[in-house]
Structure formats: C-alpha cells, structure tokens
C-alpha cells in the first residue's frame, strides 16, 4: 500500500494505492482500509487484462501470469491533523497478508514540497502490495535482469528507450509538460526482433504515482504488431498499454518503467538443442513536468481542467412547502471529470440535502470525456417564488490556456402553502381538534383541478339495473321450463289412451270413407285395417303387428276378448288385407258395409275391458 504524498495541506489531495499481486491465482478476499475520515474524490480499480493464448496466427495475445488488482483512491481530508490509514489485508490459501499502515499529515498551512522517494528494489513474485519504484533516466537498473551481450544505446527519438538488438520496452508520452489535471496519453510498446512465439508476461506494471489514470484500451483487445526499423533492424512492435494520466499535483512526476518477460521457446527447439533463454526487459521511466495553472486570471476555488458545459434543471417548478424537488446538474465535456466539483446551491429558505454524484466516462480517439451528474434534493421551507442562482464551475482549457466559468441558467421554484413555522402556530386555530401536524409533510399536495361531480350513481340502487340483472336468469328459466313443458306434452301425446286412439281411428275411418265415396277408395281398406290394429294395440296394451292369425286369436282369448268379437276382428282384418291388395272395385254398398262393420268393431273395442297380462288363465 502506498500513500503519496504523506504530508499535504488542508484542501489538497493525496493518492492512496493498494496493489494486490498474486502469482498463479487470485486473492480470495481483499479488505481495503477504512477511509471514512476522508472525502473520496475518485476511486479506480484496475486489473491487468488476461487474454487466452492462440498459437500459429500472425496475431499473438498476452497472458498475465500473475493476477493483480490495483485500487487507487484520491483522498481529501476534511480536517487538519495526523491520520493513520490501517493496513490493507488479503487472504490467499488460508494465509493472511497485510500491508504496512500509512500515516498522512495534514497541515492547516501550505505543505512542504515532497521529493519522490528513492528507488527500492521491486518485489518478488507472489508477494502482495509490492510495486516497482521509479528511477531517474540514466540511473542503473534495479531489477535482476540479465545484461544483454551486445551494447545498448538510448534513443532520444524513442523517448529515451534503451535499444536492444533482441527486444526492448519503450514508454511514450504525448507531452513532457502539462498542467495539473491535463490529460497526458501514455503508451508502452514492446519492440521485438521477430514475432512473438509466446505471450509476454508483465512482471511489473508501470507506476503512475501522482496521476489519476484511465485505461484507453478495451479489455478484449488483441496484440497486433506493426513493423518498425530501428538502427537498420526490423522490429515487431506491440502496444502493451495505453492510458490517460491526469497529474494531481505540480512538480516532476514520473511514469515508471514496466518490466516484461518474453519466452522464446518454440517447437523447433528440439532441433536447436534446447529453448532460447527468456528475455527480460524493462522500460525507462519518464519524467513529466507538471505546471501549476497560470496565476494570471486564476479564479478562486476549485478549477476543472478541460472543456466542459453545464446544464441544470428541476424535476418540477411548483411544489407545496415542505415537499422536495430534485435539482440535477450535468457537467459534460473532455477532461478530468473526476476532479470536478460543483458547490451545492445556497438559497435562503431552501434546505439542500447532500448530493448524489454519478459519473459516466468514455473515451473518444484517446481523449477522456463523459459526464458527471450531481443531484440535490431541495426542500422549500417557506412559500413564495424562490430563485435558484446559476450553478457554475471554473474551468481551465489547456489548449487555449484560458480560464472560463461555465454556468447554468437560473431556475425558479414556486412553493405554495404555509411555511413550516407558520403551520405549527396556525393549526391551533382549527376546530374542533387542533393539534400539531407532526406528519404534515406526508400529505398532499392539494388538488387544484376537479370536475366537481355532483352525482354519484350507484348502479346497485338503480331499478333498471336490478331489473336487467334479474332478466337474464329469468329468461333462461322461462326458456328451460318451456322446453320441459313441450317435451312433456310431446311425450304425453305419444302415450295416448285407448279411448283416444280408438276415437282417432274412428275419425280417420270416417275421412277415408268420405274419400271413398268421392271416388278415392284406394286407402279405405288400409285405414280400416290400421284403425282396427291401432285400437286393438291400444286396448291390449301390446303390439300385435308381428303376430300371426292364430297367435292373435290365442292372445285375444287369453285377454278375455269374447270369442265372437275376436273372430269378427280377425276376419275384418283379413278382409281389409285382401281388399287392399285385391283388384276388385268397391261399390258404394261395399264401402258402407265395410265402414259400418269397422265402426261397430271399434265401438265394441272401446267398451271392451280386457284381462290384464297377470290375470291370464
């Protein structure tokens, strides 16, 4: 864990960096120190990317052999004094690792100038919280890197990189001099003779103490090589890292050196008698001169470096006294958004609650841009028209080297209803239960528009509605009962009494006789036979159609039909059958005789009371 600087003045910031590095694995749990005593201006967590290895194509990918998590905080103390930052802890494989605690001194007056710490040897692999320290250009290397056999030269045109015939690392910055808060783009290249046969491993990340950084390359990128000739040698050049660094303080700041290891084993090593040794290379730290913002024309207070616009709005402009409205302010533009601060509006009669801040950072052509949104809840304490003054932030544009104050429009808020203090006094006059409105703010707001409806008709009390409700089941009931009645009547008519049947037969016989007298005698005998059969069946209560003559005679005797009547009936049935299919012509006398005999038989059948089936002898 590292804190830089360790002595600042009140109002200044410091950077706390916690680096957890684990080889061949990942920390199971990381516990960061409590920072409640500070305002956290910004927070960044970076984890060096891991890529899967693909072999055989022109594009090689990087494999991170160690897992590293770097937590960077920009802190601002609230009061002067001495602060102890507890150690950060990490757990791995059942063991607990802890960093050293840090102490920060905050003076009320200006802080002394702090020089960078002297370089220290970098950590070995697998030990947490270690990091590489910067070294001045030209100073001897501190890492245990085997000296190349051939002489090296620094190349000023390559940002002072130490050129090596086999491989070297170059750190490039787009500007060696910048203002505090101005973006510096840092790119770290790996120059390699020949293409990568194995993915390079990052042993030590470049240190960026005193900077707030934002990665400019996406997490899923692939290493792509471009060719470049240096000292008449062709190299494959790979971009290992590119990030935007925003210096947090003035002075000489250093972008530290990255160290990498390149394995050179290949399938052909068996023919070469063994693999080539790995190459370990480290870049050259670069210094950046960071200038304070120009004093001329410098406004008081915090200054955001970059180019920004500011927009503010209220979620509603009319509210009841005591109700809250939301004031939103959005700062949009290029630059160090995380450093931007917007003072809360201070308006008499309005209570302003603590803001909520949301950042959206993105990059466009390696320029960091985005928005920082502030949201305050405002609660008007008194009624009336309240004017919110424009919000503003001072900015400095490094391109034009000019200060500018970016402001929003003034906003107006109308609060209606009595103020809180007046409400507490006035409520005593209300009858009959005047009491303190302890929950007044939860009610309302009053409705200012109403249709003032005068009639509320309940359908359940309307006669027509009740009638309609009763109509459907009533209709259905009537329909169902009607159908039942019809069925009953139909069934009843199908079970006609013998007297009715005989009467019907007599009627049909008369009609047939009349037709016969009129010259239509064809169906007379059929009607005679059918009428007698129907009357017999009705009287006996059983069908006789399938019976032979002898069977019918026997049945009639069993049922108590007098012998003479039975004989007459059978004879008449036979004669009607013969006459029906015969070719003889019916005279009028024949017709009358036939009709007379049939009517007589029907009358005798009508009066007959046959024995029941159980009474048969």
């Amino acid at each position: 864990m590292q804190l830089e600087p360790t002595h600042i003045a009140l109002g200044q910031s410091c950077v706390l960096r916690v680096r957890v590095e684990v080889s061949d694995g990942e920390a199971e749990r990381i516990e960061l120190p409590s920072l409640d005593a500070f305002d956290i201006v910004s927070r960044q967590t970076s984890r060096p990317m891991q890529f899967s290895f693909s072999f055989g194509s022109g594009q090689q990918q990087m494999i991170q052999r160690s897992s590293t998590a770097i937590h960077t905080f920009v802190l601002q103390p609230r009061e002067a004094g001495t602060y102890r930052i507890n150690p950060a802890r990490a757990w791995m494989g059942g063991r607990e690792f802890a960093s050293q605690p840090q102490t920060l001194r905050v003076s009320a007056g200006p802080a002394p100038y702090t020089t960078p710490r002297p370089s220290q040897p970098g950590p070995g692999r697998g030990q947490p919280s270690g990091r590489a320290r910067p070294r001045a250009p030209g100073a001897p290397r501190l890492h245990a890197i085997p000296e190349p056999a051939t002489p090296q030269r620094t190349k000023p045109e390559l940002d002072g990189a130490v050129v090596d015939p086999d491989a070297f690392v170059r750190t490039a910055i787009d500007k060696g001099e910048a203002y505090v808060g101005e973006q510096i783009t840092v790119t770290i290249y790996l120059y390699l003779r020949g293409p990568l046969s194995a993915a390079p491993a990052i042993e030590t990340e470049a240190s960026v103490d005193g900077f707030w950084v934002h990665d400019l390359l996406g997490p899923d990128r692939q290493l792509q090589a471009h060719r470049q000739r240096v000292d008449r040698r062709a190299y494959h050049v790979y971009v290992l890292r590119r990030f935007a660094a925003f210096p947090l303080r003035s002075g000489e700041l250093t972008i530290g050196a990255m160290s990498v290891r390149v394995d050179r084993s290949s399938l052909f090593d068996v023919f070469a008698g063994g693999p080539l040794p790995s190459l370990r290379r480290a870049g050259v730290p670069l210094s950046v001169r960071v200038k304070e913002l120009p004093a001329q024309g410098r406004p008081r207070g915090a200054i955001g470096v970059g180019r920004f616009s500011l927009e503010a709005k209220l979620d509603r402009t009319q509210v009841s006294t005591g109700d809250a409205v939301r004031l939103s302010a959005i700062l949009r533009g290029n630059g160090n958004l995380k450093d931007l601060k917007l003072a809360a509006p201070s308006i008499d009669g309005i209570e302003v609650l603590a803001p909520q801040i949301r950042d959206q950072v993105h990059t466009n052509n390696d320029v960091v841009s985005g928005t920082r949104a502030f949201e305050w809840l405002l609660v008007p304490k008194r009624p009336g028209e309240l004017t919110l003054p424009p919000l503003g932030v001072n900015t400095f544009d490094p391109a034009t080297r000019r200060y500018e104050r970016v402001t929003s429009k003034a906003l107006t808020l109308t609060a209606a209803g009595q103020g809180v203090a007046a409400a507490q006094a006035a409520d005593a006059t209300l009858e009959p239960d005047a009491r303190e409105p302890e929950e007044g703010a939860k009610f309302g707001p009053l409705r200012t528009h109403s249709a003032l409806r005068r009639h509320h008709r309940r359908l359940l009390t309307e006669t027509w509605f009740v009638a309609l409700l009763a109509l459907a089941p009533g209709l259905w009931l009537a329909f169902t009962l009607g159908r039942q009645a019809r069925r009953y009547l139909q069934a009843r008519s199908g079970r006609a009494t013998p007297e009715r049947l005989i009467k019907r037969a007599r009627q049909r016989l008369r009609e047939a006789a009349q037709r016969a007298r009129d010259g239509q005698s064809a169906d007379l005998h059929a009607e005679v036979g059918q009428g007698l059969r129907d009357a017999l069946e009705a009287r006996l209560g059983e069908p006789i159609g399938s019976m032979t003559r002898s069977q019918l005679a026997k049945r009639l005797a069993e049922r108590g039909v007098p012998q003479e009547l039975a004989t007459s009936l059978i004879r008449e049935l036979e004669q009607s059958e013969f006459a029906r299919y015969g070719s003889a012509t019916n005279t009028a006398a024949d017709i009358e005789q036939s009709v007379g005999r049939s009517e007589e038989l029907l009358s005798r059948l009508e009066a007959l009371k046959p024995r029941s089936m159980e009474q048969r002898p």
Binding site: G417, P432, G440, R447, F479
Partner: protein, 247 residues
C-alpha cells in the same frame, strides 16, 4: 323553472368556490378553505378530489379521524387513487404514533382485509357492470347448450359455461365485498378521540366504552342525535351523531 342559462352560472360558482377554497389554503387560511369545501359538499358536490383536499387539510391539522373519513370517501369515489391510499395509511400511522406516545402502546390496523384490498382499485359500478355482462353471457351459453346438437359447439359451450360461471361468481363476490354486503349497517369512522359509547340514545345513558379516534364502526340505526354502532368484538352501543362520520 330553470333555464339552460342557469346551469352554467351555477357550475361557474361551484368552480369559483373550489378555486377560492384552494387559494385560502395556500394563503394559510385553513379555516376558510375548510368552510368552502364544506359548502361544496352541502351544494351536492360528491367529488373524489374535493374529499381528498378536505382529508389533506384535516390531516395536516392533525384531525386524523376526519382525514381518514374523507380519504375513505375519496377512495370510494375514485378507486385506485394511490395518493389517497398513502394519505389514509399515513393518517392511521400518525394516529398510532400519537396514541403510543400518550398511552405507551397502541394498535392501529392500517391494512384492509385481503378481499377489500383486492377490490379496492376497482369501482363498485365497474364491478356491477361486469357482473351484468358475465351473467348475460353465462345464461346465454347455458341456453345455447340446451339447444345445440352438434358436437363441436357443444364442447365449446360446455367449456365456456363453467368458466363464465366462475368469473361471474368471483365478480359477484367482489361486488358484494365492495358494496359491503357482508355486514349489517353502514361503514363509518369515529371522529373524536375517546368518544363514548352509551347504552341508549340519551346523553344520560350510562357509558359502557370509549372508542379511539379513527376506529371503524358500523352504523345500524339512527335515533335523534344518536346512532347505534357495532364494532368488532361484539361491542354495540349508541354514540353521538357528531362523533361518527359515515364513509
């Protein structure tokens, strides 16, 4: 005899009365605002917004019993009004807190029964209409089922009939709940803290209980200036008419 000219002028005066009541409220003159809203009620206005405003003023003044009464009336006329529901819940909660502070403890039931909660967002008239429509559809399907002979329509009607019957039953139950048909009497709210419940409709009758403000009761009978109320726990008695407000 009134003419067509009369009606618009009367509506205008009601609107100006309403606007005047609101302005009085915003000026801080709650008494005048209340009086004007009550004049609107006396003029026959039965509007959810007017009841809501009345409830809001009473609640802000600390008269939670009346606030509850008017919030309930507002919700009966405008079901599904979340603001009124929130106001009602807040009134009950405030009453409970007040009672707890003075008596040390309080039990305030702020949640309605499940059946009441289910039908709360729907108006009584909507439920009644749905019952009517479902009833007509149900009996029409029954009648068609009796006369249809073909297989496929009979199956379809056979499936539709019980479904419609079920929907009709649910709607009818909802309507009965909404219309408060399960209990005798009209729903009402006690408006005064520790209002007396007497044995008879007479101020000299013995007081048998005291009821807290905001308690729901059912008014089953009226006699002179008293109403006979029934409460959960089989408590029954007579209360002054002014101590109880019909929802």
């Amino acid at each position: 005899m009134w003419t067509a000219v009369d009606r618009p002028a009367r509506a205008q005066s009601l609107q100006s009365l309403f606007a005047g009541a609101n302005q009085a409220y915003f000026r801080g003159d709650h008494k005048t605002a209340l009086a004007r809203y009550e004049r609107l009620i006396a003029a026959g206005v039965r509007d959810a917004d007017v009841y809501f405003n009345l409830a809001t003023i009473h609640a802000k003044a600390g008269s939670y019993g009346r606030a509850i009464l008017f919030f309930e009336r507002s919700m009966r006329l405008g079901p599904g009004d979340e603001q009124a529901e929130r106001g009602l819940a807040a009134s009950h909660a405030a009453l409970g807190r007040r009672r707890a502070e003075s008596a040390g403890e309080a039990t305030v039931r702020t949640r309605p029964s499940m059946g009441t909660a289910m039908v709360r967002p729907v108006s009584e008239n909507s439920l009644a209409l749905s019952v009517l429509v479902l009833e007509v559809a149900f009996f029409a399907v029954l009648a068609a089922l009796g006369i249809t002979r073909r297989e496929t329509p009979r199956v379809a009607l056979g499936v539709a009939a019980p479904l419609l019957g079920l929907c009709l039953l649910v709607s009818a139950l909802g309507l009965a709940t909404k219309a408060d048909a399960w209990s005798q009497g009209r729903r009402a709210v006690v408006l005064r803290e520790q209002a007396e419940v007497r044995e008879g409709p007479d101020p000299r009758a013995q007081a048998r209980a005291r009821v807290p403000e905001g308690r729901y009761v059912r008014v089953v009978e009226r006699d002179n200036g008293f109403v006979r109320v029934r409460m959960p726990g089989e408590i029954e008695g007579w209360m002054k008419r002014g101590d109880v407000g019909d929802i």
